[in-house]
């Protein structure tokens, strides 16, 4: 099936989200739509899926002009969409979820479960999806849930599949698996519109690339184009993928973590005897596949999860059982992993969000009385300094794009004196321009004398920022290595390759029996 967009334009007030967009998706190709957050990708997809109506322009399917008034029209025309947030019922089985809304029935309207299961099984076998139709969705990992969404689209005869940032929620392995499935689907003649802002993924899987910037198509480079070429197109200038930073000049030890044991909300031991020391003026990167205790480590440091055993101290002050407010008061700045759930109040204005954890300090309040004028002044300064793009300081934070939301959080956390900066996945889901900005700010914070801890599952980020790299696996620090360590060795550590470690002779590996961790200073 061929899909053509001609001159599609969508305006929201004065903002032109899509400006005369032309797009051709041929049958049997993976077409990547590359662009920064806020470039208009999602709006375009919503137009294509009938969720919003374009102001101008037309859509053609196989040469026939169509109008999608609702997602139903789009589905009928053979367009399927997998959203970033899945639309699944957790207490239903895979088969039940897949047939929901078009349930096969036997006479008297009885649900034909067997047929539903069979259809799912068929599709699963044909494309190697390895889905058990009888599994309950709530028990499935995110990657499998995504495949369930794909099956949902396929069973509705989708010939063009729109995947909206599908890798944002996936582990590297799951991503590879998704790419394999995408290629299978392509081989069967289906087209895939792959929305992403990750250059490497686009290079790896796309046949054609369209780059959007500020609502316009700015180019269709071949997928073989280099990182730098793609990035330049996306952000419209040469960006440094590698942050410029001077060698670290570590000072005194500021953050001390000793033998920390933390249980997660379910009572499972998530952090298992972690010991770390971070000095003023250095960045410690905590690498590891997501879900190996990094999040719990951060939360325990912030007083958001109780510490089972062990000790946390900042600048010699014991904060093991301190409240979050006390930790913040001790000069710790925190950029949480989930910005929309933990970092922001989406219904609050930009200005209010900018003082979310300093509202009770001078000059923003005196006694219990807030000083709205001071809050507004500070917000205007921050917006300019951190290049937060928002209509005004009064608009709700939910109207900001992801990148600008993150800049808001970074602005808030770095606008005060910090002794320790703790950042968990500080650039996840951000576009190249925003990543560069956040990275520069983090390095500047280090140079100003903070002890910085960056938790990231993206190796690029770890390498770009770290002065030392600690690798976390199953709740333990399995090695602290210099940033010169090759990626392959780091990968082995991240995969918990304990048996081969000794023979590989990784740097920083000497004397690493069990839980004891030897620290290696950067070369």
């Amino acid at each position: 099936m061929e899909l053509k967009l001609r001159g599609v334009t969508k305006r929201f007030g004065s903002l032109v989200a899509n400006d005369h967009i032309d797009l051709d998706v041929a049958a049997g190709e993976i077409h990547a739509l590359l662009g920064e957050n806020g470039a208009g990708k999602t709006t375009l997809m919503n137009v294509l899926y009938g969720l919003t109506q374009p102001d101008e322009g037309e859509i053609e399917v196989d040469g026939r002009r169509v109008r999608f008034r609702s997602p139903k029209d789009a589905i009928d025309a053979g367009i399927g969409m997998v959203h970033q947030h899945f639309m699944l019922v957790p207490v239903f089985t895979v088969a039940e979820n897949v047939v929901l809304g078009r349930e096969p029935t036997k006479p008297f309207g009885l649900l034909d479960r067997r047929r539903a299961r069979g259809e799912v099984q068929d599709l699963s076998n044909r494309y190697g999806l390895s889905i058990d139709p009888d599994a309950y969705v709530e028990h499935l990992p995110v990657g499998v849930q995504q495949r369930v969404e794909i099956v949902k689209a396929l069973i509705r005869q989708a010939n063009v599949l729109i995947l909206d940032e599908p890798t944002a929620v996936l582990t590297p392995n799951e991503t590879q698996e998704l790419f394999r499935i995408m290629r299978e689907l392509k081989a069967s003649g289906r087209s895939i519109l792959f929305i992403s802002h990750k250059l490497k993924e686009v290079q790896a899987v796309a046949d054609t690339v369209t780059v959007l910037r500020r609502g316009r198509v700015v180019g269709s480079p071949p997928p073989s184009a280099t990182d730098a070429e793609l990035a330049t197109l996306m952000v419209g200038r040469d960006v440094e993928l590698r942050v410029h930073k001077e060698p670290a000049e570590p000072g005194d030890v500021v953050l001390v973590v000793d033998g920390l044991v933390v249980r997660d909300e379910t009572g499972r031991i998530a952090v298992d005897g972690v010991s770390l020391e971070v000095r003023a003026g250095e960045i410690l990167g905590v690498a590891g596949v997501q879900g190996n205790g990094q999040t719990e480590l951060c939360k325990a440091l912030m007083g958001l999860l109780p510490v089972d055993r062990g000790m946390v101290a900042v600048g010699g002050r014991d904060l093991t059982r301190a409240s979050t407010r006390a930790v913040l008061g001790a000069g710790v700045s925190y950029i949480p992993e989930d910005r929309q759930e933990d970092g922001l109040v989406e219904s609050f204005s930009v200005a209010e969000n900018l003082v979310l954890d300093v509202y009770d300090r001078r000059p923003f309040s005196s006694g219990i009385s807030l000083r709205p004028d001071r809050v507004r002044d500070a917000a205007r300064t921050s917006m300019a300094e951190f290049d937060i793009r928002a209509g005004s300081i009064e608009v709700p934070a939910k109207t900001l794009s992801g990148g600008n939301q993150q800049k808001l959080i970074v602005a808030r956390e770095l606008s005060r004196e910090t002794r320790v900066l703790l950042a968990n996945q500080p650039t996840r889901g951000l576009d190249v321009g925003s990543i560069e900005f956040v990275h520069r700010r983090i390095v500047a914070n280090r140079d100003a004398g903070s002890a910085v801890v960056i938790v990231s599952s993206e190796l690029d980020e770890i390498y770009a920022l770290s002065d030392r790299i600690a690798v976390m696996y199953e709740g333990k620090i399995v090695g602290v290595v210099p940033p010169t360590t090759p990626a392959t060795e780091l990968g082995l550590l991240m995969a918990g390759a304990t048996s081969t470690r000794g023979e590989e002779g990784l740097p920083g590996e000497e004397g690493l029996p069990g839980e004891e961790v030897s620290e290696v200073q950067p070369a």
Partner: protein, 437 residues
């Protein structure tokens, strides 16, 4: 519930920032975004002013039909619809219009009283309807604020009656058992009412913070506890009126009575000013203090509040103390302003009224005051309507219910009046929920 989920799943995303996926969203606890949060969303971001006004008009229209067609004369006339169609419509119109005119005269202004005043009659009767509206609105404003302020912190306070009783008991006891000079006596009794309500409300907050007990259950139960505690106290010699077999307290001392604002012929008293001042204070606390900032943050996103170093538990206790104090003031205002004693059933229907006006007023102090004034007017007008047209006063409750019904269904209002949808945002989310449930 399952059909709602099914609808959500089937419809696929209405908007990109729609409800978080049930599979991945929230903090791992299924249904973490529960009823209270959904309701809070609906209450604070749901409707435009237009929808509220149209809902009111629709309720008046439907209420008129009900007034007309529960009237035997009208029904008789409609029995002869084909022989005398004009009469059928005319009687229906006359009945409904007559009832509403009487209601208006009882709540806002009576033209007869105005013309009488021009011809030398008492001026105070001109303002009597407005005075009655204010008197009726006073406890509704205060209890409505008690619900609204809790809403803003994400709590659903169904315990206005219990907190009201707590305030009424203490204010009443100080009123009849203590002897103090004028003004001081009234002030101490009001303060006692405030404290009494705060204790009852604060207990709810404390239980939630300490044990995780859900405030909906605790507040509902506290209503029963306080109702029966009131009955028990009124049976004790310390509380009962000497020589009276009925469970009713002695009258409060004249020094404890809240002074009238415009002379003794108009019932409106200082209690109304207390209510307006309380609304202003609530606005100030919510928007201009660190306490209010914490309260709104906890109500909007408890996880972000925790990450920012706030303590939701502490906030729950604070907000329930505040809510209880407001409802306690309502109890004091009724005891010292209009009833002058403590009696069973003194808490009236304030539990439901308070929730309704907070909902109508979108949990904002200003909105709550306006909604309460509307309800006060309906109550005041309802009494006059019943007296002069024999339409039962209960029709007022029906109209109130209809207003809430229409306000709760903005898509219905938009469909009826062919309004455009509000721009994407909270409203859209509300709509999806509205149809789904």
């Amino acid at each position: 519930m399952s059909s709602e989920l099914a609808d959500q799943a089937e419809e696929t995303a209405k908007s990109e920032d729609g409800p978080p996926s049930p599979a991945t969203g929230g903090d791992g606890r299924p249904g973490a975004r529960g009823f209270t949060e959904a309701l809070l969303d609906a209450v604070t971001s749901g409707n435009t002013v237009t929808v509220t006004v149209l809902a009111f008009l629709c309720a008046i229209f439907l209420g008129g039909l009900i007034i007309a067609f529960t009237n035997t004369t009208v029904l008789h006339a409609w029995g002869n619809l084909f022989s005398a169609p004009g009469k059928a419509f005319a009687t229906a119109w006359d009945t409904a219009a007559g009832a509403y005119v009487a209601m208006f005269e009882g709540a806002i202004v009576n033209p007869h009283a105005v013309s009488a005043a021009f011809h030398g009659g008492p001026v105070s009767t001109v303002f009597n309807p407005l005075s009655e509206t204010a008197v009726n609105a006073t406890p509704i404003i205060l209890t409505g604020l008690a619900v609204a302020v809790a809403f803003r912190a994400g709590l659903f306070n169904i315990g206005a009656a219990s907190q009201f009783i707590g305030g009424a008991m203490i204010a009443g006891w100080i009123g009849f058992a203590v002897h103090l000079p004028f003004i001081l006596h009234a002030a101490v009794a009001v303060a006692g009412g405030l404290v009494g309500g705060a204790v009852v409300g604060g207990a709810v907050g404390f239980l939630k913070a300490r044990t995780g007990a859900h405030e909906v259950i605790v507040t509902i139960m506290s209503n029963y506890v306080m109702e029966y505690l009131l009955l028990y106290l009124l049976g004790l010699t310390a509380f009962r009126r000497p020589g009276n077999p009925n469970p009713i307290s002695p009258p409060i001392a004249t020094n404890a009575v809240l002074p009238h604002l415009f002379g003794s012929t108009l019932r409106v008293n200082v209690g109304f000013l207390i209510a307006l001042a309380a609304a202003a204070a609530v606005w100030w606390v919510l928007n201009r203090t660190t306490i209010g900032f914490e309260l709104r943050t906890v109500g909007s996103n408890p996880r972000a509040a925790r990450s920012a170093g706030m303590s939701p538990e502490r906030t729950w206790i604070v907000v329930m103390l505040l809510a209880g104090a407001l409802a306690g003031l309502a109890g004091a205002a009724v005891v010292q302003g209009t009833n002058f004693n403590v009696a069973p059933q003194i808490y009236g229907t304030y539990t439901v009224d308070s929730i309704t006006v907070a909902l109508l007023g979108r949990a904002s102090p200003t909105g709550t005051v306006l909604a309460s004034l509307l309800f006060g007017a309906l109550r005041a007008g309802g009494v006059t309507m019943q007296a002069s047209t024999q339409v039962p006063v209960d029709i007022v409750t029906v109209i109130e219910a209809l207003i809430v019904l229409f306000v709760a269904a903005p898509p219905l209002m938009r469909a009826v009046f062919r309004l455009r949808e509000p721009r994407a945002g909270g409203g859209e989310q509300l709509e999806a929920r509205g149809w789904g449930g």
